[in-house]
């Protein structure tokens, strides 16, 4: 396939020279689908190239005949029009030949599809849940999970007229805070679903994307052959920040993977610790700011001013300055019919207590009250 790549690059370079634009001529052009790092992705790639070449061959014949006619059958060359207007034999030929070609394409496509749908005999299962606008990954057997959101430097640079150069950011828009880590050589079953609206989880190197739909669980599988970092994005329009919820998949050797799992299990236990003790206001404010940045700032903005009326301001807002139990209720249960999600299932008691306390005492709000994790636990019942 290296040969075809060279040809594609040649085409791209020719196109660039035509434009004679210094910025363009110096650039590197992405032209084709990745061949990927799984059995499926390679099969889909080969299928893609096969159909592409068939289309090119048909195009060469069809357009060749057409341009022959355009050059040779023109009135200015003295062409006199023939008056034939049908030929049963010709029409039969150009009905039957396409049918044969299509059957030829359908056979490998059917085989590939059957293989893609064989999700049985998986070595492990990862549940992927789409949220506005981040992903959650749950490792079913070890029993831990985490959110994966756009990396902080990309997030700063992507603000409207941020003044930051995207070129200076590491993997601009394709980097996350916590990548999905998987072992190489293992058949992984992915279960995709969503919490709010329809998303689509896509890593081109795996060869497929799957829609993540509330109320549905879709099954797919992948076995990554080579260690590496593979990047992708949400592929289904999911609202304001659809363009800003990348997927980063880190494939590592099995022993490295198990070491990582152990770390994660310990970290998870640490994170939920402290739910039973009383927290100081400073601790809650510090923790709350982290949670706010990760979960709330996309809509309500880092300064709490929101983007009214779709995303209301928290600074001086009715909820954030109103009774604390109503504030907590809104965060836990969300507001149906709007983009305000129910965070009760996403955040633990400490996170909820911290973020509510933070919202009531930041951005110039001065409710002054402190919400303890124990109160959150009581409110959940």
């Amino acid at each position: 396939m290296g040969h075809s790549n060279t040809r594609c690059r040649l085409l791209g370079t020719t196109a660039a020279v035509v434009f004679l634009w210094p910025q363009i001529a110096a650039a590197d052009y992405a032209l084709n689908m990745t061949r990927g790092v799984t059995e499926l992705s390679r099969e889909f790639y080969d299928l893609h190239m096969l159909i592409f070449y068939i289309c090119c061959a048909i195009a060469a014949v069809v357009f060749g005949v057409m341009f022959w006619s355009i050059f040779n059958h023109r009135k200015s060359r003295g062409a006199v029009a023939a008056q034939f207007h049908h030929s049963t034999r010709a029409e039969l030929i150009w009905t039957i030949i396409p049918i044969i070609i299509l059957v030829g394409m359908a056979v490998p496509a059917t085989k590939a599809l059957v293989k893609m749908e064989s999700t049985g005999d998986a070595d492990m299962t990862i549940k992927v849940t789409g949220h506005q606008w981040k992903w959650r990954y749950d490792y079913v057997e070890p029993g831990f999970g985490f959110f994966s959101a756009l990396a902080a430097d990309s997030n700063e640079a992507r603000a409207l007229r941020s003044g930051k150069d995207p070129g200076a950011v590491d993997n601009y828009l394709l980097n996350v805070d916590h990548p999905l880590v998987v072992p190489v050589g293992k058949k992984i079953r992915f279960l995709t679903t969503a919490n709010d609206v329809v998303h689509a989880w896509w890593v081109p190197a795996l060869g497929w994307k799957r829609d993540a739909i509330p109320g549905y669980i879709n099954e797919s599988w992948a076995r990554v052959d080579e260690p590496g970092i593979y990047r992708g994005q949400c592929a289904e329009l999911c609202g304001k920040d659809h363009g800003f919820m990348p997927v980063v998949l880190k494939a590592v050797p099995e022993d490295e993977y198990f070491a990582w799992v152990e770390e994660m299990v310990v970290a998870q236990a640490d994170a939920s610790a402290g739910a039973d003790r009383d927290w100081t206001r400073e601790e809650l404010m510090a923790k709350g700011e982290q949670v706010y940045t990760a979960f709330c700032a996309a809509c309500h903005q880092p300064n709490g001013l929101g983007i009214p009326p779709a995303f209301p301001a928290l600074a001086g807002g009715a909820i954030a300055t109103g009774p604390v139990d109503q504030h907590l209720d809104r965060v836990i249960n969300g507001k149906p019919g709007t983009a305000m999600a129910a965070f009760g299932g996403q955040l633990n008691d400490v996170d909820l207590a911290a973020v509510v306390t933070y919202e009531r005492n930041a951005f110039g709000n001065s409710a002054g009250d402190v919400l303890q994790p124990a109160a959150v636990k009581a409110a959940r019942k």
């Binding site: 099969e43 289309c55 357009f63 049908h86 150009w94 007229r161 363009g243 983009a339």
Partner: protein, 531 residues
């Protein structure tokens, strides 16, 4: 022609003048002009939105608009271009041409005709007004998928009622076209002598009547989900978000043929004229169009392979989709066989028709690739899809209509358009539209999702080139506007025949034609019919 008929004819020519002429008109030519004018206005409105999109995508980073506004631009651009440009535009052609082509004085249902047009300005006012509402315009994509669509603010009911109005207009227009073709044909104008443009519109009308009510049902369910507590599409309430996608695309796939079939018809009129040779395979063209329309009801799920469906479903929709390539191929081969051994000249309508055949076919190839389900799991929702449907809709449907305007403008206005400027318009459009959309194939294959306001750096170069193409294409259309205005106001007097190779009843009428096309029906024989 008897005196009584002549007298009646003159009597009817006393119609209101000024704005009342246009508001109260029941004349197929006036209404055709209104439809075409609306389509042209909306072409620039939707085009301006496309310019915003291409401007924001010219460089990585967000420079001009916030993501929510970008999404509403993408949503409204699609709704305006589909419902405001291609659909009314092709209805405008139908109004002007069908009575003249079948030897009728006017459309069968003139008052319905007036109403079906005058609903539309209200519909588009409602739709465009949403940009000034709290929360902004609809931003969930033209496909209106719930649950995202249910997060729309005050714009939601406006959008839904606008769609209802557009749908009602389309259904009334279709009823009128079917009634006209069934009842108003001149003696001897049998079905198998109908010009192909009339055939494609007859089939399109049946598609509209079959599918618009389905869309109306889907958007009404969205409305009740949002405001009346139902849970058709809300999983938490026992509903099913995927149900909407099935219902929507059951409308949506026939809809793409509603958009392209009339342009198939226009191209099938233009190519024989400038090849000076009858259309090749008239009968198979009719059957191929009907087969495409029939098959379009069985392929809707190819828009949503990644949504998840049983293997049997994936295979069925893949095979059904691939099978559409056969009748579509027949049409392309017949067009080329029409040109083969003709005596070709290359006036502006012919240039657009040839570009249509080449570029629509490229869109057909990418469509075939998208229909291969396993590969679609990579292509789906990327710029490859954006490139595909712009090839079939812009260089397909819109190029067909542009060619049609140049082809019939001398007949409509009585003046020849400026051929030199027309050629300029063609070459500027044909080159820039490829600079605009061809690189989007590469972007999609390289992994750029559609409907994103900002992108990773590896997509920067092609996006820049695409934007430049977009700006040139957009500006070129101002030249089109100038050519039309110039042609309406003045120009060389057009003969009745206009083009020396033209055949068909519309060319037997004076240019411009009388207010009532055929007051006494012409006699149609094999010799005077299209072929």
């Amino acid at each position: 022609m008897s005196d009584a008929v002549m007298h009646g004819h003159e009597h009817h020519d006393h119609h209101p003048t000024g704005w009342k002429r246009w508001l109260f008109t029941t004349n197929h030519k006036d209404i055709g002009t209104l439809y075409l004018t609306l389509a042209l206005v909306m072409f620039f409105v939707g085009g301006a939105m496309a310019m915003v999109i291409r401007l924001e995508l010219m460089h990585p980073g967000l420079q001009y608009v916030d993501p929510q506004f970008f999404n509403s631009m993408a949503t409204l651009h699609a709704l305006v271009m589909i419902f405001g440009v291609v659909m009314p535009g092709t209805v405008g052609f139908a109004n002007w041409l069908i009575p003249m082509m079948i030897g009728a004085p006017d459309m069968a249902l003139p008052r319905l005709n007036n109403w079906s047009f005058w609903i539309l300005p209200f519909a588009f006012s409602l739709l465009l007004l949403t940009l000034f509402l709290p929360g902004g315009g609809p931003a969930g994509g033209w496909t209106l998928y719930p649950p995202l669509m249910l997060q729309t603010g005050a714009a939601m009911p406006f959008v839904i009622f606008a769609i209802h109005f557009m749908g009602a207009s389309s259904i009334m227009g279709s009823i009128n076209i079917i009634a006209t073709i069934f009842n108003m044909r001149a003696p001897g104008m049998t079905f198998m002598r109908l010009p192909l443009f009339v055939w494609t519109w007859l089939i399109t009308s049946f598609l509209l009547i079959a599918t618009i009510p389905v869309l109306a049902g889907a958007v009404t369910m969205l409305l009740t989900d949002k405001y009346f507590g139902t849970s058709f599409f809300n999983a938490a309430g026992g509903g099913d978000p995927v149900l909407f996608q099935h219902v929507f695309w059951f409308f949506g796939h026939p809809e793409v043929y509603i958009l392209i079939l009339p342009s198939f018809g226009i191209v099938s009129q233009i190519l024989p004229t400038f090849s000076r040779k009858p259309l090749f395979g008239y009968e198979s063209m009719v059957y191929a169009t009907a087969s495409i329309a029939f098959l379009s009801f069985f392929v809707w799920a190819h828009h949503k392979f990644t949504v998840g469906m049983p293997l049997a479903g994936e295979l069925f929709f893949m095979y059904a989709t691939m099978s559409i390539a056969v009748p579509t191929g027949v049409k392309v081969f017949n067009w080329i066989a029409t040109m083969w051994r003709g005596s070709l000249t290359f006036e502006t309508p012919m240039l657009f028709a040839i570009a249509f055949v080449v570029l629509f076919t490229i869109g057909g190839f990418s469509g075939l690739m998208l229909g291969i389900t396993p590969a679609d799991f990579q292509y789906h929702d990327t710029y490859f899809v954006v490139a595909h449907f712009h090839y079939v809709l812009v260089t397909g449907a819109v190029f067909g209509m542009l060619g049609g305007v140049y082809y019939w403008l001398p007949k409509w206005t009585g003046h020849m358009y400026d051929e030199t400027l027309g050629k300029w318009h063609f070459w500027l459009s044909a080159i820039s539209v490829n600079v605009l959309f061809f690189p989007q194939h590469f972007l999609g294959l390289a992994g750029m999702p559609r409907r994103i306001p900002d992108y990773a750096l590896q997509f920067a170069e092609w996006n820049f080139i695409s934007s430049i193409g977009g700006f040139v294409f957009g500006l070129s259309q101002l030249l089109f506007l100038y050519i039309i205005v110039k042609c309406i106001r003045a120009g060389a007097k057009a003969s009745d025949q206009v083009w020396d190779g033209a055949h068909g009843l519309e060319w037997t009428l004076p240019s411009p034609p009388p207010y009532h096309s055929f007051v006494s029906p012409p006699m149609v024989t094999d010799a005077t019919a299209h072929s």
